[in-house]
């Protein structure tokens, strides 16, 4: 158990180091480029050279890499050329905003996906199974920007229940709560179907296991078999799938945040990448990869804790 934990933490650190090297290589290898991006296309070559000199960019790349990582570890994420402030002033606010919609969406997705997944998977091939499965396939196949258009047409334009822009400002007369509804709805719609199908598949597999058949044959009620025996075992596999959704909900929300002009992490990522704001892109990428690898590790850990066969092996 402890050995596993140590191994995973070492793997996490190694991954972060490799990723940071890749990011550094992609963005800062050629020193002239950085100064050029700061100054823009109309600066003269002398100005670029001068800034390169001032920023210390003409020193060898490994030295600059070590300095950069050292700064990151100390919490110095650099200066954002797009937002005109230190990166740490903006990045945590944006991450917080994204966490708000991500956690609401997560809180809806988990119980709904377990409910639908179990209902569909407990009797494979039944009418209920087919309708839930097809519904899940269709909702996950509609891209977020398309479902954003569909939902906005109905709930914003015709019914007028919710605002079409979720800027988290109060000036439009819409409460903050009502601004969160549309982004969360689009995220849930896109992601729910996938989780439902994974839980359904796990459930189908468990229902074919000998211990379930034994339970049914000894006269146990179907409802009890499902709840007592099947559900628990199906959850072992499903836990990993559910945890991996955290990555989508935090890293993949770029589209949803762009549709509704939501001031979140994904939109910050896109804006800074489009405007060549290197410091912000680098910091944001590292944060997002860290979250991804961390949830993967937690998923493996949970899988191990729930499954005694692996725990005691």
């Amino acid at each position: 158990m402890l050995a596993f934990l140590v191994r995973r933490i070492v793997a996490l650190i190694v991954t972060m180091l490799v990723v940071s090297m890749l990011i550094f290589a992609a963005f800062e290898w050629t020193p002239g480029q950085v100064a050029r991006k700061v100054l823009g296309p109309f600066a003269t070559q002398e100005q670029v050279d001068l800034l390169t000199e001032q920023m210390g960019l003409n020193r060898p790349a490994p030295v600059r890499y070590v300095e950069w990582v050292g700064g990151l570890v100390k919490g110095d994420l650099g200066y954002s050329s797009y937002y005109k402030t230190d990166v740490e002033n903006i990045i945590w606010d944006r991450l917080g905003n994204t966490l708000i919609i991500a956690s609401i969406a997560f809180a809806i997705i988990v119980p709904c996906s377990i409910l639908f997944g179990v209902l569909a998977g407990m009797r494979e091939g039944s009418k209920l199974d087919r309708s839930i499965s097809i519904g899940a396939i269709v909702t996950t196949s509609v891209p977020e920007f398309a479902s954003g258009v569909f939902l906005s047409t109905i709930f914003v334009l015709y019914l007028g229940w919710f605002p079409g822009v979720s800027s988290l400002e109060r000036d439009g007369g819409w409460s903050i709560g009502s601004q969160l509804v549309m982004p969360v709805a689009v995220m849930v719609l896109f992601d729910l179907g996938y989780v439902v199908r994974m839980i359904r598949a796990a459930m189908v597999e468990v229902m074919m296991k000998p211990y379930v058949r034994t339970a049914i044959l000894k006269g146990m009620g179907f409802r009890q078999v499902v709840i007592k025996h099947a559900l628990r075992n199906a959850m072992i596999v499903s836990l990993t799938v559910i945890l991996l959704q955290v990555n989508y909900l935090i890293g993949g929300v770029v589209v949803v945040e762009t549709i509704f002009a939501y001031p979140g992490f994904g939109r910050m990522m896109l804006e800074s990448a489009l405007s060549q704001d290197v410091a912000t892109v680098e910091a944001a990428t590292l944060v997002i990869v860290f979250i991804t690898v961390l949830t993967q590790t937690l998923g493996d850990l949970g899988y191990m804790l729930l499954n005694p066969r692996i725990r005691f092996a």
Binding site: S141, V142, F145, S152, V156, L157, M269
Partner: protein
């Protein structure tokens, strides 16, 4: 010996017609086939189906400060209306199907070529080859896909070729994982041993013996991935990272029109319906194929 090997080796192909017949029995799969075929036919016949040049603009349909009453909504001249620049939406959607049905399959196919090759190498040789390929895949997979797309396209610049490069880079590690797993199972089977004893080269064994046996799971995955790639290309277009204008591209069309959602929702609605129906088609087709593969 060769005959024995032939008898042991599971036969590839030869049952295609049986499978097609099975697919016709699955109503869900047939809806998928219909939707995908519909767009394929539209894409092929685009020059004859499109009533107007997709990039020709009719200024008389654009509401502006001179004449705010001009109406871009659907009418008898422009069946689906016109977009924010007065271009016929129907023609742009028809030509846009060509864009997506060229870029998405090309990208998916290339990703499969790379993914299968690396997966076969990793699963067949094991050892340091496997470690190298698997570690690389892990690193790519530790990024959320959309973040990688943004990073790659903003570095390389938006173009059809760069979108394909990005898809190959991001999708192939997942294909590597599938193919590697199957290859590791298959290489222990008798038909591979027989081929080795016949003195076949490793390349022959990987390409001719093992690869055909990975097709079952891969066909279903390819169908799903085709839909997924279509979504990604649409997303890139929507984020302004897709094909450079004025190429008709469904995601890009929605991006341009979304700001006018409150006054002219039809500009966003029709491209949204187009891309959704194509992706739903791919997914339902994949579901039908999966059902068939479970039956035999």
């Amino acid at each position: 010996m060769a005959q024995v090997a032939q008898a042991i080796k599971p036969r590839a192909g030869g049952q295609i017609w049986k499978r097609v017949k099975l697919l016709t029995e699955s109503p869900v799969g047939m809806v998928g086939v219909f939707l995908v075929l519909f767009w394929v036919v539209v894409a092929i016949l685009a020059p004859w189906l499109a009533p107007y040049d997709p990039n020709a603009n009719d200024p008389s349909t654009v509401p502006d400060h001179i004449d705010p009453m001009m109406d871009p909504t659907p009418n008898s001249v422009y069946l689906l209306g016109t977009d924010n620049q007065g271009r016929d939406l129907l023609s742009r959607i028809i030509w846009g199907s060509r864009t997506v049905l060229i870029v998405a399959p090309t990208a998916t196919l290339c990703a499969y070529a790379v993914g299968c090759l690396l997966g076969l190498l990793a699963g067949y040789y094991r050892g340091w080859v496997d470690t190298l390929i698997s570690r690389f895949s892990d690193i790519v997979l530790s990024f959320p896909a959309i973040v990688l797309y943004i990073l790659i396209i903003t570095r390389l610049g938006p173009s059809a070729l760069n979108v394909i490069v990005a898809v190959i880079f991001i999708a192939s590690p997942q294909i590597v994982r599938i193919v590697r797993g199957i290859t590791m199972e298959q290489r222990e089977l008798d038909y591979v041993t027989a081929a080795k004893m016949r003195g076949e080269s490793s390349l022959y064994i990987m390409m001719v013996e093992i690869l055909p046996n990975t097709r079952g799971p891969l066909i279903v995955d390819a169908c799903l991935r085709m839909g997924y790639t279509t979504i990604q290309i649409g997303v890139l277009g929507f984020l302004g990272l897709g094909l450079p204008p004025p190429a008709p591209d469904w995601g890009g069309m929605i991006k341009d029109a979304y700001a006018m959602m409150s006054t002219a929702p039809h500009m966003s609605l029709f491209p949204a319906i187009a891309i959704s129906s194509l992706v739903v088609g791919f997914s339902l087709l994949a579901d039908g194929l999966r059902e068939i593969s479970l039956r035999d």
